[in-house]
């Protein structure tokens, strides 16, 4: 059976892509962020995931506002990146796992999540930058199932709904009859606001609170309304929805094994966390 080994959550700011291309990892500005990935590399090398289920938000590459799904699940053999218009290099393509995608799709719809199914789907920097951060080498050793959550056009799904989406995915992965080691990725955040007179808003105290609660009490975070989240975390801080879904998919006993937090990267409070998922023994036996 497939096993969920844990989750990685990370900021996905486009300028990280530029910094990687220009090899600025050790510049004073970038180092406090990139060195937060040393542990992630160690953890991935040790845990050797086969597949990553990636919760992210599209910023106008695959989806436009003409048809904007709340939740969309990729079911492609391969996911390509293309020119996003703001000057970051186009990424290499990422291999998909359509069999797992369809298993998740079937389970989600049976569980009353009426998602959009995408057999052809471009993925933007919100997928490709976390991949490049996690595996800086020449090859990406995992296949992915990308799941896009609308964080762009209100009404957005609630934090509670995204936690439930993650839980549904977690149950579906555990019922997948293949020996796969699956990791969950949530991208974006933490607090930031790009638009309006409140541009530049960052809330360190709230970010710390979110990372603390995410591990053992995600329900506390799920009680916030989107409106209150925008107030506390900034207009684009709502990308935390991807983190909530990631956390939801960790179905066992969860512990935080790594955290890095640095202000600022671009206009954003940058954060990276690694959560481990340990199976609850009696559940398998029951």
């Amino acid at each position: 059976m497939a096993r969920i080994i844990g989750g990685v959550a990370t900021t996905h700011v486009p300028s990280i892509g530029k910094a990687i291309a220009e090899k600025k990892q050790n510049d004073p500005y970038w180092k406090p962020f990139f060195r937060g990935f040393d542990y992630v590399h160690y953890w991935l090398a040790r845990e050797k995931p086969d597949v990553a289920v990636v919760f992210y938000n599209d910023h106008g590459l695959n989806f436009f506002l003409d048809k904007l799904p709340t939740f969309a699940v990729g079911a492609a053999n391969e996911y390509r990146n293309e020119d996003e218009g703001w000057g970051i290099p186009v990424s290499r393509a990422i291999a998909g796992d359509p069999a797992l995608s369809w298993h998740l799709i079937n389970a989600l719809v049976a569980d009353e999540f009426d998602i959009t199914m995408c057999q052809d789907m471009l993925v933007d920097h919100a997928v490709t930058i976390p991949m490049a951060l996690m595996w800086p080498g020449e090859k990406w050793p995992v296949k992915i199932v990308p799941i896009s959550i609308n964080t762009v056009q209100h009404p957005l799904p609630s934090l509670a709904r995204c936690l439930k989406l993650g839980r549904s995915i977690g149950r579906a992965i555990e019922s997948y009859p293949h020996d796969l080691r699956v990791m969950i990725v949530g991208t974006g955040g933490l607090s930031h606001q790009l638009d309006g007179k409140r541009a530049g808003f960052i809330n360190k105290e709230f970010d710390q609170f979110c990372m603390d609660k995410l591990v053992g009490e995600p329900e506390t975070l799920a009680r916030y309304s989107i409106h209150d989240w925008v107030e506390e975390a900034g207009a684009q801080g709502v990308e935390f929805l991807n983190w909530m879904a990631m956390r939801g998919a960790l179905t066992g006993n969860v512990s935080e094994v790594h955290r890095n937090y640095h202000i600022p990267i671009s206009n954003t409070a940058a954060a990276t966390v690694v959560l481990e998922n340990h199976e609850i023994p009696q559940r398998r036996a029951a």
Binding site: H59, G60, G196, K197, A199, I202
Partner: protein, 112 residues
């Protein structure tokens, strides 16, 4: 009724309808050929996408707050800003009426 958040315009159905043409134009800037076509004839390009007078004026004057008020979404506007060589610190400074250095200092200050 929820209180408005100062300095923040929620990109909701009202804004999304208002800004559809402007955001659709910005979406087209994923293509290098379209970015070049815009630079060759800004007014013509704005007209082609059906921007209203206010939106055309906001684009012409590079006024980001005005673009947002008229329905622009910042993820799409960032593609337009990129054509002018402006990053999110530049547009942050413009929207908050500060210099780019002051804006960067404010960001760094949030970490202390």
């Amino acid at each position: 009724m929820e209180q408005d958040i100062a300095g923040t315009i929620m990109f909701d159905g009202v804004q999304a309808q208002k800004g559809y043409a402007l955001n659709r134009m910005c979406f087209s800037f994923n293509s290098a050929a379209n970015r070049a076509a815009f630079l060759a004839d800004e007014d013509g390009y704005c007209r082609k996408f059906g921007l209203n007078t206010e939106q055309c004026a906001a684009v012409k004057s590079r006024d980001v707050l005005r673009m947002i008020e008229t329905g622009g979404n910042v993820y799409y506007l960032a593609k337009l800003a990129g054509i002018f060589g402006l990053n999110v610190q530049d547009i942050g400074a413009q929207q908050t009426g500060t210099t780019v250095d002051e804006f960067k200092a404010k960001l760094a200050g949030a970490g202390r």
